[in-house]
Symmetry: C2
Subunit: 429 residues, 2 copies
C-alpha cells in the first residue's frame, strides 16, 4: 500500500508552523507497514488543492489530509475533496450536536459558520473529534482510501490513533501482514561508530530491518519485521536484539523509546538513591535535563552552577591554589572536576555527585582549547573518577554532548550496582 | 514569483525527522516576496524524484531542493535534476579540493564515493559548502530558477543565506520591488493578548503588513513592506514601529531578532552588572538559558538549584519555620521566593539575584496547584520584589514560561536603570 499525506494550510507555506503532522503520520503509517511515497503541503486555495488531490489520486492508494476543516471560509479541504470525487456534503447530526453542545456549555451563541465543522461527504464514515469541534472523515472509493483529519496536532493525533487507524486496519489493511518494531537506544557512542560496528549485521540481513538514526546527542536503532502475529515478530526481533547487545553491550541502554535521563531518574528513584551536581561550563543544562523528568524530585537534591571561580571556592571549597597562579592546574582540570564532584555530593548529602568543568567556547579559556571538558563522578564510599572529553562543534553541541557523556558514565555505574543487586523494572525487559 | 520546495529523503517519509528545512526556506522566501505554493517531500528514489521535478516545473518559477546530495548511492538529487533537464554532471574542481582537504587535514584516506559530493550540473553556479562537504547548485533555464541545497540544516541554512539568497536576488528578483522587514520582539505578553491589542492596526492597514507569531514562549511581529529602496522602506517601517511601541511600550524589547536573554546578557556585561540565581521548580532552566549565551561568563556568577528543602536551608538560609509546620507558608510561597533571591544575590556578591519556586507538575505539591509559581527579583540597595504567576500547560510549558516571565521582570528593571543612565548599544536602535 502506497500513501500520500496532504497537509492543507497557508501557515505551513509561510513557515509559521512546521509540518509535524506529516512526521507523526509517517511514523504511524510506517508502523502499519504502509509506505509513504510523498508528503505534499498546499495552501488554502481551492484550485491548487484540487490539483494536489488529482496528483495524489494518480499515485497513491491511501490519501490522508490534515487541516482545512475548521469553520472559516479558508477551510476548503472537504469542499475540494467532495468536488474532486463528484460528491455532495451534508451535515452529520451527531457532529452537529457536538458543536452545538460546546457553545451551549459555554453559554455562547453559536455563529452560523460553525455548522461547517459538522460537514461530512455523503456516504462516508464520520470520525468524531474528542478534543475540538471539526468532524473527520474516512471512506473508500475505487480501491482508494481517504482520511480527512483536523490540523491542530492535539486534535489530529487522537483522531488518527483512536478512529482513523482502526478504520484503516479494518478496511485497507486486511490482506497485509502487520509490521512490528522495537526501538533500541544507545548512549556513549556516536552514530557513525555505531554504524561501523553494526555494518555487517545491517548489510547481511533484510528481515528484520535495521535502521539507525541520531538526534540530539542520542542514537536510536529501529528494528522491524512483518509477521502474522506479534508473538512471531517478537521472537525474530529478540534474536536480533541479542546479537546487537552482544556487539555493543556497554552502549545499549533500553529497548523502548526512553531518554537516558528518564531511565536514570526512574531507576534511582526506585532504588532510593540520590544525586547532586556541580556545573561550570554546562551552566545548568545537566540539572535541567534531570529535573525535566517528572518524579526527579525524589532522587535529585539539587546542585550548584559555579560559573565564577569565586563560587567554586566559596560554595564548593575548591582550594585557591588549584585555581590561581602560573603552576595551578586551573578551573578546567581533572583536579577541579574531582573536588567539585566530591564536594557537591557531600553538600547534597547524596549517594552520587556529578561535576562538569570545561571550555564550551566560543573562544578559549585559561589557554585551553574549546571542547576540552572534564566530568567527575563521585559515589559514597568509592574513589571519585574523572573523565576527559575532547568535543567538537558549537557551544550548544559541546554542552549537550558533555551532559550526555556524563549521564552515560552515571548509567554505567548504576548498571554495575544492578548486576550486584538486581532490581525489577529494568528498561531492558 | 511562485516557488516550490522539494525535500528529498526517505528519512522524512519514515518520520525519522521533521521537515524543518521547508519551514526555514518558506520564511526566507516569504521575506523575499516569493510565494511558496507547494512543499513536496519525496524519498531517495530516482523515478519518483523525476516525477516530482516534472510536476514542480509545470507549476513553479523557482524550485528549491534540499537533501540527497551526499556521498552515498541513495543521494540522487543532482542525478535526477540533470536527467530531467538533459544535462550532464561534472566534478567542480574547487569543491573537489575542499573535499580532499577535509580528508587530508584529518589524515584519513578519502574513499572514492566522496568525489560525488563535488559534482555540479554543467553550466551552473556552484554554491560552496562552508560547513559540510557537498557543493550546492544555482542556475536558470527557460525562465525557471533552480537551487540545490544540502539536507543537514546546519549546512543548508548558511548556504541559503550566504550563497543562494544573493544569487536569487541578483538573477530571479531583478524586476520585483524588494521586500524589507523588521522583526519586533515582545516579552511579558501572550500572542492572543498582543493580537487583541494590535487588532485595529492589523485590520486597518495592508502596507506595511503586520504578521504576529509565537514560538517557545516569545512573541514576534514581523512588519514588512515593498519599496524601491531600503531608505524608503525604513521610513514606512519606523512609523509603524513607533505606533506599535506606543500601544505596547512595556513589552516591545527589540527591533532585531534577538532572544530576551541575549539582550540581558549583552547589556549587563556592557554595564558591568552581575547576576546570580536560585531555582527550585525550573531546576536549572533559567541558568541554562543565560549561560547558553556566549559572553555570559562576565556577568553571570552562578547559582544554586535548591530542589530539596534541605538545600534551601543549608545553602540559602531559608528558615526551617518558613518551610515546615502546619502554619508555615511552605517552599512554594512569596516568603521563600524573597529569601532565595536575596540570599543568592549575597552569596554570588552580585548586583541582581533571581529566584524561582513553584509547582511545575504533574501532580501538586504542598496542596498547591500545578502552575502556581513565585519568582523573586533582588537588587543591591533596593527592596526585593516577588511576582506570583498562575500558569497553564505541561511541566515543560510551565518551566519555560516561568523563565521568560522572570527574564521579563529583570529586563524591565534594567530598562529603568537605562532611563536613569542612558547607555549606548541598545537593541532598539
Amino acid at each position: 500500500m502506497k500513501a500520500e499525506i496532504i497537509a492543507v494550510g497557508t501557515e505551513l507555506l509561510l513557515g509559521q508552523i512546521v509540518n509535524s503532522n506529516a512526521q507523526f503520520l509517517s511514523i504511524e503509517l510506517a508502523a502499519l507497514g504502509i509506505d509513504v511515497y510523498f508528503q505534499t503541503v498546499v495552501g488554502d486555495n481551492k484550485n491548487r488543492l484540487l490539483e494536489a488531490i488529482e496528483i495524489a489520486r494518480s499515485r497513491a492508494d491511501i490519501i490522508l489530509f490534515t487541516g482545512g476543516i475548521g469553520p472559516t471560509e479558508d477551510d476548503l479541504t472537504k469542499d475540494a475533496l467532495a468536488a474532486a470525487l463528484g460528491r455532495t456534503l451534508h451535515i452529520d447530526q451527531l457532529a452537529m450536536d457536538h458543536v452545538q453542545r460546546f457553545f451551549d456549555d459555554r453559554k455562547i451563541v453559536m455563529t452560523e459558520n460553525n455548522r461547517k465543522q459538522a460537514l461530512v461527504i455523503e456516504g462516508t464514515t464520520p470520525l468524531s473529534n474528542e478534543i475540538g469541534l471539526a468532524v473527520g472523515i474516512a471512506f473508500a472509493e475505487e480501491n482508494k482510501y481517504y482520511i480527512v483529519l483536523p490540523g491542530p496536532p492535539r486534535e489530529m493525533k487522537p483522531m488518527f490513533t483512536d478512529k482513523a487507524k482502526p478504520w484503516l486496519q479494518q478496511h485497507a489493511l486486511t490482506s497485509e501482514m502487520p509490521i512490528y518494531s522495537k526501538m533500541l537506544k544507545f548512549a556513549g557512542i556516536g552514530e557513525s561508530l555505531l554504524e561501523d560496528k553494526l555494518i555487517d549485521l545491517i548489510r547481511g540481513q533484510s528481515d528484520p530491518t535495521i535502521a539507525p538514526y541520531a538526534k540530539e546527542g542520542e542514537v536510536t536503532v529501529r528494528i522491524s519485521t512483518k509477521a502474522p502475529s506479534e508473538r512471531e515478530a517478537m521472537v525474530k526481533l529478540d534474536v536480533l536484539e541479542k546479537k546487537i547487545a552482544g556487539i555493543l553491550p556497554e552502549n545499549l541502554y533500553a529497548n523502548i523509546d526512553v531518554p537516558l535521563e528518564q531511565l536514570i531518574v526512574d531507576w534511582m528513584a526506585d532504588a532510593g538513591l540520590t544525586l547532586s551536581a556541580a556545573e561550570s561550563c554546562t551552566g545548568g543544562l545537566l540539572m535541567e535535563s534531570i529535573t525535566n523528568i517528572p518524579g526527579s524530585a525524589s532522587m535529585f537534591a539539587g546542585g550548584i552552577v559555579c560559573y565564577s571561580n569565586d563560587l567554586k571556592k566559596k560554595l564548593l571549597n575548591v582550594p585557591a591554589a588549584m585555581l590561581e597562579g602560573p603552576d595551578a592546574p586551573g578551573a578546567v582540570s581533572r583536579e577541579v572536576a574531582e573536588v567539585l564532584a566530591e564536594q557537591v555530593r557531600m553538600i547534597g548529602d547524596s549517594d552520587f555527585g556529578l561535576s562538569v568543568t570545561g571550555v564550551a567556547g566560543p573562544g578559549y579559556s585559561e589557554r585551553k582549547p574549546v571542547g576540552l571538558v572534564f566530568v567527575g563522578l563521585a559515589e559514597r564510599g568509592r574513589k571519585t573518577e574523572v573523565y576527559e572529553l575532547n568535543l567538537k562543534g558549537t557551544r550548544e553541541n559541546i554542552r549537550l554532548r558533555t551532559v550526555k557523556a556524563l549521564l552515560y558514565r552515571l548509567w554505567r555505574r548504576l548498571e554495575e550496582r544492578k548486576v550486584a543487586t538486581p532490581l525489577e523494572g529494568s528498561a531492558l525487559q
